[in-house]
């Protein structure tokens, strides 16, 4: 992809209370078709989007968290989650669902899509993009 641009989708909001998390995911699914270099950032309340065992039966709203697990099939494999944001919320990486992708260059080995990064690393990732879209 010589002309591919680096796109970062920044998620700072919790799911269900507002629609931003869901509509952000809808953008990412479409974006995957454009063969750009796609990364997702989860920081602040955005880390709540990735908690495991979400069950929305009690509130009558569609549970969209399984869609994150489909991102690997769309070749969206870089989900950066900020460590400090987790810690401030009393969460650790084991509270997040497992999201993997199959690496065709490594005999289809399953690799984790979620990468826990420090706040400083997140700042570096943000500064390394061509386009930053915020939700």
């Amino acid at each position: 992809m010589p002309d591919a641009k680096k796109f970062l989708y920044v998620n700072r909001k919790a799911p269900y209370g507002t629609i931003y998390a869901l509509e952000s995911l809808e953008v990412v699914l479409i974006a995957a078709a454009f063969e750009q270099d796609v990364s997702l950032a989860f920081l602040d309340d955005g880390v709540f989007q990735l908690t495991k065992d979400q069950n929305t039966d009690g509130i009558g709203v569609k549970n969209f968290s399984p869609t994150f697990r489909a991102l690997g099939d769309y070749e969206v494999t870089k989900l950066f989650v900020e460590k400090e944001s987790l810690e401030e919320r009393g969460l650790d990486p084991s509270d997040l669902q497992e999201i993997t992708w199959e690496d065709e260059d490594a005999d289809w080995e399953e690799k984790p899509s979620i990468r826990i990064v420090s706040r400083a690393e997140m700042a570096d990732i943000m500064a390394d993009q061509d386009v930053v879209l915020s939700f």
């Binding site: 919790a14 799911p15 269900y16 209370g17 602040d44 309340d45 069950n55 919320r89």
Partner: protein, 102 residues
């Protein structure tokens, strides 16, 4: 005479829960709903403030909202009582007024 306060925003990005905690009175109830349920997480940057106020205010959370957000039961503060929508209705009747921290 007591008030039921409802808080519907995450306390990590928004000041509503802290403001509510600083304005409610002994004997009041505080119900965490929608994204407000994150205020019930233990070991968080906000949990000490909730625990401290739980001395004279009763905290509740809307169970459906907590489950929707995948909050592990083991990580919820013991000081926060889960209720359903029916419990929400009862809380409104049991208090003299309700105040939404929008």
């Amino acid at each position: 005479m007591s008030t039921l306060h409802t808080v519907n925003k995450s306390p990590f990005g928004d000041g509503a829960l802290l403001s509510c905690i600083e304005h409610c009175k002994p004997g009041d109830g505080v119900l965490l709903i929608e994204d407000g349920v994150y205020g019930a997480l233990s070991g968080s940057a906000i949990s000490d403030a909730v625990v401290a106020r739980a001395a004279d205010v009763t905290f509740y959370l809307l169970e459906g909202d907590a489950k929707a957000r995948g909050l592990p039961e083991g990580k919820l503060l013991g000081q926060v009582t889960p209720v359903g929508y029916d419990g929400f209705v009862d809380l409104v009747t049991e208090h003299d007024r309700s105040q939404s921290w929008l």
